[in-house]
């Protein structure tokens, strides 16, 4: 184990292809601090339309931090400070004119641990649309709930017990409920922070299949610790290391032919 973190060249550029044409989200030179401690250094990365980008890297390297910048979830942490240029469809995410509430309706998030509200399955899914007034009447809402649950692959399992509490579902079902809840708002981008880490292989497979389907309509950024998972679901992969984006490239290329030594070390299991 040569787990000794190598000193990184501060001026080092990200290796590979962080930038793409016509990005959905683009970030340039992003620095993030928690108080005095810098967690992200000069990170630049684009996310395209209808693509799944996987973020991999050792624990504590800043994947979640970077992900949470994209929908300003970091705003809820008092000590967190974000600098740099982050754009969604060319609009500055951290601009004053950007309302975080609207932003989060456009950029949805699925968390590591399934976190359904202690309400009924129906109300879990209906909560977001209700917040934003997306349904004009009950029938509308029923429709939104049904399509969201269908797309999350949960409808058949819960259609007879929509009034049952969401917390009473199994872990995998809860996570799919959370995904349904996120897509019910009709976001453009979905951020997923280790969505399958608390699930068994079968539930994981269902979620992965789901991600693949969702790609048709959304841009997805997924943090994962499973390289197989990254390989299975993503088109591009970014390797994070100690707050820096070391390498970005096509998923296949990253896993078969990494260009940076650190990426290779991580993928081959030399550390991480």
């Amino acid at each position: 184990m040569n787990a000794q973190p190598q000193a990184l060249d501060p001026a080092q550029e990200t290796v590979g292809t962080p930038f793409i044409d016509d990005p959905k989200i683009s970030t340039r030179h992003v620095d993030v601090w928690y108080g005095d401690k810098q967690a992200i250094f000069d990170a630049s990365l684009d996310v395209g339309n209808n693509e799944v980008v996987a973020l991999i890297g050792p624990s504590g390297c800043g994947k979640s931090t970077w992900l949470r910048c994209l929908n300003r979830m970091n705003d809820t942490i008092d000590i967190c400070r974000v600098e740099g240029e982050l754009k969604l469809d060319g609009e500055d995410i951290y601009d004053r004119a950007m309302d975080p509430v609207l932003l989060r309706a456009r950029v949805g998030m699925v968390f590591q641990k399934p976190n359904p509200f202690p309400k009924s399955i129906y109300d879990n899914v209906a909560y977001g649309p209700r917040l934003h007034g997306l349904a004009r009447n009950r029938a509308d809402m029923d429709e939104i709930v049904e399509t969201s649950l269908r797309r999350a692959g949960l409808w058949d399992e819960v259609k007879d017990r929509l009034d049952a509490p969401g917390t009473g579902l199994s872990g995998g079902q809860q996570q799919r409920l959370c995904i349904a809840r996120t897509i019910a708002v009709g976001p453009e981008v979905i951020l997923m922070d280790e969505p399958a880490s608390a699930l068994d292989p079968i539930a994981t497979a269902i979620i992965e299949e789901l991600i693949d389907e969702l790609r048709e309509n959304y841009s997805i950024v997924i943090v994962t610790h499973s390289m197989q998972q990254a390989a299975r679901v993503s088109q591009r992969t970014a390797y994070f290391h100690m707050g820096r984006i070391i390498e970005v490239g096509d998923t296949k290329q990253i896993f078969t032919n990494p260009r940076h030594q650190l990426t290779e070390n991580y993928i081959t299991g030399k550390f991480g």
Binding site: N71, M73, T76, D78, V101, L102, L103, R104, A105, G108, M109, F111, K113, N115, P116, F117, P118, Y127, G128, L131, H132, T167, C178, R181, T182, V185
Partner: protein, 421 residues
């Protein structure tokens, strides 16, 4: 000697230590229960006599002449209220014992009946105006507390004269004396006569006082807790506030009483002895408790729920009012009930603001003069009549009953709504 043996030896010692420790614990618990048992037995045995009253059966003639009602007088509530009931009762007593002629003996005879019995008789006649002009009514009227004590408990009590004892025995042979359930205890207010005294006034006073406390503390407490937990920036000022809330919870309650006296009564000129002021003083006292418990309840809500709501685009207010508040409500209510229970048992600060007066009227609002249950206990425990000590114990029992119910409710709420995420 190998390692296993060493471990085995030390194990023995460790187990012995454990057994000893468990024994200590059991002794401690047993001691606690023993004291509680003593206390409860003592209170219950002392309180039991208060729940029954001795009554005498008197035949009250219902003709107008005996009642002192003019032939042509119309029967209305006013006229009925104004009848000379004391005379009527005395006359009826005399008719039972025609042999008693001497003034002194008559006086002793009259003393068998409670001086409050006339009010009972009046109330019954007002309720039954159709009795007038009818046959004599045989009515049970409350006996004097000395008779009560003598008849129920203790024939050695010297306050009953030999003649009176004879009279009571005569009444017994005529089936004219009995003990019945003491309704006065629950329907009447304080009185100089123990057999006419009840806790209704104190109960009403406690109710109004706690109502004021609850209505003011809950919103202020919840708002303060929500602000401190969810909105306030983490800085020196909030730390300072937090420390001082905890300090406030430890301030002796009498200090709040003095504060209330100075501010609410002397400065704002609010009425003395009023539940409004009592409630305000108790608010000062319970507020820290409620803020602390509400903050704990709010803190216990998993951040993942809040994150989920934020992630869907809920604003801070929406997160607080859709999720944080509803989910922490059971905990907040539990804390409030416990705070209310404390307030219910509080005596000292209320003494300071004059809720210790002798009040016969049942308070009908937050501005009427009133006293509260624990103060009533304090007042009666001071009275010399033996019957009052039974009333004191009975009131303690009632107060303990309320406290136990409130605490049970709090435990129920906590158990019932306890969530695991």
């Amino acid at each position: 000697m190998n390692n296993t043996d060493i471990v085995r030896q030390s194990l023995k010692r460790r187990y012995r230590k454990e057994r000893r420790f468990r024994a200590y614990g059991m002794i401690a618990v047993a001691t606690g229960f023993l004291f509680l048992g003593f206390l409860l037995t003592d209170i219950v045995t002392k309180a039991l006599p208060a729940f029954s009253l001795t009554e005498l059966r008197l035949d009250i003639p219902m003709d107008r002449e005996s009642l002192g009602l003019a032939e042509d007088a119309e029967i209305s509530e006013d006229t009925l209220r104004a009848l000379p009931y004391s005379q009527i009762i005395k006359k009826s007593l005399r008719s039972l014992f025609p042999d008693i002629r001497k003034r002194k003996q008559k006086k002793l005879l009259y003393k068998l009946i409670s001086s409050g019995a006339e009010f009972d008789l009046r109330d019954r006649l007002v309720a039954h105006p159709e009795w007038i002009d009818g046959p004599p009514q045989s009515l049970w009227l409350t006996a004097d507390d000395d008779v009560d004590t003598w008849y129920k408990l203790d024939t050695q009590v010297s306050r009953i004269k030999p003649l009176q004892a004879e009279l009571i025995q005569a009444l017994e042979t005529q089936d004219r004396i009995r003990t019945a359930f003491n309704t006065h205890f629950f329907t009447r207010s304080d009185s100089r006569e123990p057999e006419m005294a009840g806790i209704r006034g104190a109960l009403a006073g406690s109710f109004w006082t706690l109502l004021v406390t609850f209505v003011i503390t809950l919103p202020i407490g919840v708002a303060a807790a929500l602000y401190l937990e969810e909105f306030a920036p983490q800085n020196r000022l909030t730390d300072f506030i937090e420390v001082n809330i905890n300090n406030l919870a430890a301030v002796p309650s009498i200090v709040f009483g003095l504060l209330g006296l100075a501010i609410f009564i002397n400065f704002f000129g609010m009425p003395r002895s009023a539940p409004l002021v009592g409630g305000l003083v108790l608010t000062l006292m319970t507020l820290p408790t409620i803020i602390i418990s509400a903050r704990a309840a709010i803190k216990s809500i998993p951040p993942s729920i809040k994150e989920a709501a934020y992630g869907l685009g809920a604003s801070k207010m929406q997160v607080v009012f859709h999720h944080v508040l509803p989910l922490s409500m059971p905990g907040i209510l539990t804390g409030s009930i416990i705070g209310m229970a404390q307030a219910l048992g509080e005596t000292a600060p209320l003494l300071m603001i004059g809720m210790v007066a002798f009040i016969v009227e049942i308070p009908e609002g937050v501005l009427d003069s009133a006293t509260v249950l624990p103060v009533q206990i304090y007042l009666w425990s001071d009275s010399p009549e033996r019957a009052f000590s039974a009333l004191t114990a009975a009131t303690i029992l009632v107060l303990l009953g309320f406290l136990a119910t409130m605490n049970a409710l709090a435990i129920f709420l906590r158990k019932h709504f306890e969530r695991r995420w």
